[in-house]
């Protein structure tokens, strides 16, 4: 952990996104979702029963998170977009 900006998001390998620091969690209407603790784990596998929070289900699903260093690699051509 480096001397940081106000907020950090950690990509937990094969697990949730750990959000630490100053943040606000908002629903689609812009209303605050109470995080109930300083640091939260947000579901990344899609399987949690308490979304947006993690409940450990990624372990049952054997969720494989993509390698973050490769995240930008997929060919942009795979998702052709018409010029706007």
């Amino acid at each position: 952990m480096s001397a940081t900006p106000g907020t950090s998001i950690t990509l937990c390998p094969h697990g949730p996104l750990l959000v630490r620091g100053d943040f606000e969690l908002l629903d689609a209407m812009g209303l605050t979702v109470d995080p109930r603790r300083g640091t939260v784990a947000l579901c990344r596998c899609g399987g949690s029963l308490i979304k947006p929070f993690c409940d450990g289900t990624h372990k049952l699903l054997e969720f494989q998170a993509p390698d973050p260093t490769a995240a930008r690699a997929p060919n942009i051509d795979d998702h052709p977009r018409s010029p706007t």
Partner: protein, 341 residues
């Protein structure tokens, strides 16, 4: 604790007698008496020794209403404690699998801890509670848990001043949550007391000590063994990592079991809170606490994994014993005292 427990054998009789009479002059003979007592091959299940250890450790926590605080640092009792601990540690070392050797980086430590969890034997109390436990059995389940959960987090807190940097921040972050983030009534120990109250159980720490058998006390004594000693600062961190990593999914099952039996909030609050909180804590505990400690002090890596292995070992033994006993149709509680006529 309000009262001293009932003795369970010669050594605990002598110890409790000493504390009751508040007579330090008779303390020196205790450690010798321990030497004379036969070596039980399985101290994990030894009622007399585990109760002694529990009482000796409790002097460092909230103590006993009737026992003077200065007994905490009585050198004869400390000597007795270290002799019992020696047997306890020897037995642990004989019983755990080989300690993993990994590179001193947080990711490798976290992966090794996950692999240990996956490989751990033992029957699942959570599955039993979720699907099959009766109301009497879940009450027994709460009674056993109460001997730790009513002082949840305390044994690991001893480690805070012994750590630095990333590991210390991680531990403080987890413990802050365990102690309710400063909100009165939100401490996990208080949530647990409310769960007990919902089943008409006494939520005062130690109220059921006389009903709780050695193997359960052993799993709690283990935390004090590691927590109270600087040389075991790695082990107490490894222990906490395992506790956090084996919590979210089982707690969801406990919640399901209590709902199946017709309970809702506030009885289920303790379990629901742990599903969510420990999904956070397990990430912090494995990577930042255990991993951060190993990065800072690579020489304690073996001790971190010893703590992890010991946690899995004792919880596995206690869980297997509990489920086997329930399946045989028996109670897991020690018999209640006969009320004197």
């Amino acid at each position: 604790m309000r009262t001293l427990p009932r003795p369970r054998g010669p050594l605990s009789s002598a110890l409790l007698n000493l504390l009751e009479r508040d007579d330090p002059s008779r303390a020196p003979e205790l450690a010798d008496r321990m030497e004379q007592s036969p070596v039980d091959p399985d101290i994990f299940f030894d009622e007399d020794l585990q109760l002694c250890l529990f009482v000796l450790y409790e002097l460092h926590y909230s103590g006993f209403d009737s026992v003077a605080d200065r007994w905490e640092w009585n050198t004869d009792l400390l000597q007795l404690r270290s002799r019992i601990e020696e047997r306890f540690e020897t037995r642990i070392m004989q019983s755990i699998p080989a300690i993993p050797r990994v590179e001193a980086n947080a990711q490798s430590v976290a992966e090794a801890l996950s692999a240990m969890v996956e490989a751990a034997p033992g029957r699942s109390v959570a599955d039993f509670v979720a699907r099959r436990a009766t109301i009497d059995q879940v009450r027994e389940f709460l009674v056993h848990k109460s001997i730790y959960q009513l002082k949840e987090a305390d044994p690991h807190t001893w480690a805070i001043p012994r750590l630095g940097g990333r590991a210390k921040s991680a531990l403080v972050e987890i413990q802050g949550d365990e102690y309710g983030n400063g909100l009165p009534g939100r401490m996990h120990s208080q949530l647990f007391a409310r769960t007990m109250a919902g089943l008409d159980l006494d939520g005062e720490f130690g109220a059921y000590i006389d009903r709780i058998p050695a193997i359960v006390l052993a799993s709690v004594n283990l935390m004090s063994l590691f927590g109270l000693q600087r040389r075991h600062r790695g082990a107490i961190c490894g222990h906490l990592a395992i506790y956090e990593m084996t919590s979210s999914l089982p707690n969801a099952k406990y919640a399901r079991g209590f709902r199946r039996l017709g309970f809702g909030a506030p009885v289920t609050d303790y379990f629901d809170e742990h599903v969510e909180a420990d999904a956070v804590h397990e990430q912090i505990a494995a990577r930042d606490l255990a991993g951060g400690l190993v990065e800072a002090e690579p020489q304690v890596a073996g001790n971190v994994f010893l703590g992890a292995a010991a946690a899995l070992l004792l919880d596995g033994l206690a869980g297997t014993w509990q489920v086997d006993t329930w399946e045989s149709g028996a109670t897991t509680l020690l018999p209640a005292a006969e009320v004197p006529a």
